[in-house]
């Protein structure tokens, strides 16, 4: 990294996402402020339904029609939330890439896999197809896909979950993006291939020095890939810090609960359920399930307080 204060890739200020439904407006992401630095790998950790994917999609303006995004986000100084779709589209694929969530449904069932990866290349670099095909094959070799080059001509339904996920990774990386959003790389995958995908992703990301925003609910992914970890709960950041601090010595009760629920820590589950986003409790959102909840937690909504060396937490008990 050049100088100590590495150049800031993303600066997000008080990002909010609303979903317009027939009845009321649901706030999926509340007051999200964060900055991502060049070459850094940030992990967004949280249960399903806490709005982490929504944040990712909002950042890349991929939300469905009925969503509304407020607040500001700067990519290399350019304000993106207000930017027009056409200008932002030029960034997509080359500078900003995505590895989407549903591996199964994100590949076009009627197009060969190799071609779907080639597509990004041909769209942006405008080289002839022969060169593109070579590039894709070499990338697939790096991803250790079996039966090369035959597999490039196969269709998505002929591949297993793990292989499809690797094709998606290839499609994301092929244009050497500067910023990569990886959304739930291991969800629904087999126990076996999960480790495989993580090691591959780790190797690739290091070779390319791309900065990554990793969205997952899986601890192992966070542990092996992330530099910094942000824990989210019910649409809010609750804890934020370097990987070792947050994953080994969590401060927020929710992070502690998550750690305890791991199989290797004996399956001690947290009581109750994360609230659906249209019934957010008053005060601290975790207070109904928090063992240390006090009267104040139920009334007052805590803010993110800085604990030094880049650690922040949103909890009265943790500050105290």
């Amino acid at each position: 990294m050049e100088e100590e204060q590495t150049r800031e890739l993303w600066r997000i200020e008080r990002l909010q996402v609303f979903f317009k439904t027939r009845g009321n407006d649901i706030m999926a992401v509340n007051e999200f402020s964060l900055s991502i630095y060049q070459g850094e790998r940030l992990c967004l950790l949280g249960e399903s339904g806490c709005g982490k994917s929504v944040f990712g999609m909002a950042l890349l303006k991929l939300l469905p029609e009925n969503a509304e995004v407020l607040g500001k986000a700067y990519y290399k100084g350019m304000e993106t939330v207000g930017m027009s779709e056409k200008t932002f589209a030029r960034l997509r694929g080359t500078e900003i890439a995505v590895i989407p969530q549903g591996a199964g449904s994100s590949l076009d069932p009627t197009m060969r896999c190799g071609k779907q990866v080639e597509e990004c290349l041909r769209l942006h670099e405008k080289e002839n197809s022969q060169v593109c095909r070579q590039k894709v094959l070499s990338l697939l070799k790096r991803l250790e896909l079996p039966r090369l080059p035959g597999i490039a001509r196969d269709y998505p339904f002929e591949l297993s979950g793990g292989m499809k996920q690797r094709i998606l990774v290839a499609a994301g990386i092929v244009c050497h993006p500067q910023f990569l959003l990886v959304d739930e790389p291991t969800k629904g995958l087999d126990w076996g291939c999960r480790d495989k995908v993580i090691t591959l992703l780790k190797k690739l990301v290091e070779d390319e020095e791309t900065s990554v925003l990793l969205i997952t609910h899986d601890f192992n992914v966070a542990k092996s890939l992330a530099d910094r970890v942000v824990v989210m709960y019910a649409g809010e950041i609750v804890e934020y810090g370097m990987r070792e601090d947050v994953l080994e010595r969590p401060v927020h009760p929710y992070s502690k609960g998550l750690l305890a629920a791991l199989p290797q820590n004996g399956f001690q589950a947290i009581e109750g359920f994360s609230p659906p986003l249209d019934q957010i409790p008053k005060g601290c959102r975790f207070h109904p399930r928090c063992p240390h909840a006090t009267g104040r937690c139920a009334q007052e909504h805590p803010n993110l307080t800085d604990l030094g060396e880049g650690r922040e937490v949103r909890c009265f008990y943790a500050e105290g």
Binding site: E47, S48, G49, S160, G161, G188, D190, W191, G192, H217, D218, F219, G257, L258, A261, L262, P263, Q264, F267, Q268, A269, I270, F273, S274, P276
Partner: protein, 230 residues
């Protein structure tokens, strides 16, 4: 109690039914009273097909599935209904296991009405409210639709629905693979607790070794639609 002898099943796939996929090949397995059995293998090795055959949802090509010695496919209608009561199954994707347009109270009340467990509506409501407490769920869920509750809650309700009929055998086809780690712990704990209380034999199917190790006494490996018992 529930036994499968040399059971096999193959599916024809693709337009014109020309290619054959061998899902399950010559599997024999037995679940005794109160036993906790774990079945593990990568996805696509025929685990769920075997589970559905044991639950009588799919007719096996070869071999037979026996409950207390009787072949379940040849049961008369009355006995078949009784079989349904004895053997219950919960599925992998909780949200899809319920009728999307039916309120959850109706879904839960259905088994009661089907098997006439109670006479009046009040008794039915009482029975359900009491069961919901046991599962740690609030009764406001009765008025909700399946897509309005979380995965964890849905799986609890599925479990509750099966247990209403006091089954002898509960088959759980990858109950937690779609859930998050934290919620997974809750559900597994709940399954373990309820099956032990009512001595229900459990067949837990998963591709996650940790879950199987934590839940079952005996483990069966399944590889490429065949069994090798360890």
């Amino acid at each position: 109690m529930l036994r499968a002898e040399h059971v096999s099943k193959s599916f024809c796939v693709g337009r014109g039914r020309n290619t054959k996929i061998q899902a399950v090949l010559d599997v024999s397995l037995e679940i005794n009273k109160g036993e906790h059995l774990g079945l593990v293998g990568e996805s696509g090795c025929g685990k769920s097909t075997l589970a559905r055959m044991l639950a009588g949802l799919i007719r096996p090509d070869g071999g037979t599935v026996l409950l207390d010695g009787q072949d379940i496919q040849k049961l008369p209608v009355k006995a078949r209904k009784e079989f349904r009561r004895k053997v219950q199954i919960i599925f992998q994707n909780p949200q899809q296991a319920f009728h999307p347009r039916m309120k959850l109270y109706e879904t839960l009340a259905e088994p009661i009405r089907l098997f006439h467990l109670v006479e009046t509506r009040e008794q039915e409501r009482l029975m359900l409210e009491e069961a919901m407490e046991r599962m740690g769920l609030t009764t406001d869920i009765f008025g909700r639709y399946p897509h309005e509750i979380s995965g964890g809650q849905a799986q609890r309700i599925a479990l509750l629905r099966s247990l209403m009929l006091e089954p002898k055998v509960l088959i759980a086809d990858e109950p937690t693979s779609m859930l998050d780690v934290s919620v997974q712990a809750q559900i597994l704990k709940l399954i373990r607790q309820t099956t032990e209380e009512n001595e229900i034999a459990l067949l837990l199917i998963s591709h996650d070794m940790d879950v199987i190790r934590a839940m079952s006494d005996k483990v069966i490996f399944m590889h490429e639609s065949a069994l090798n018992l360890n």
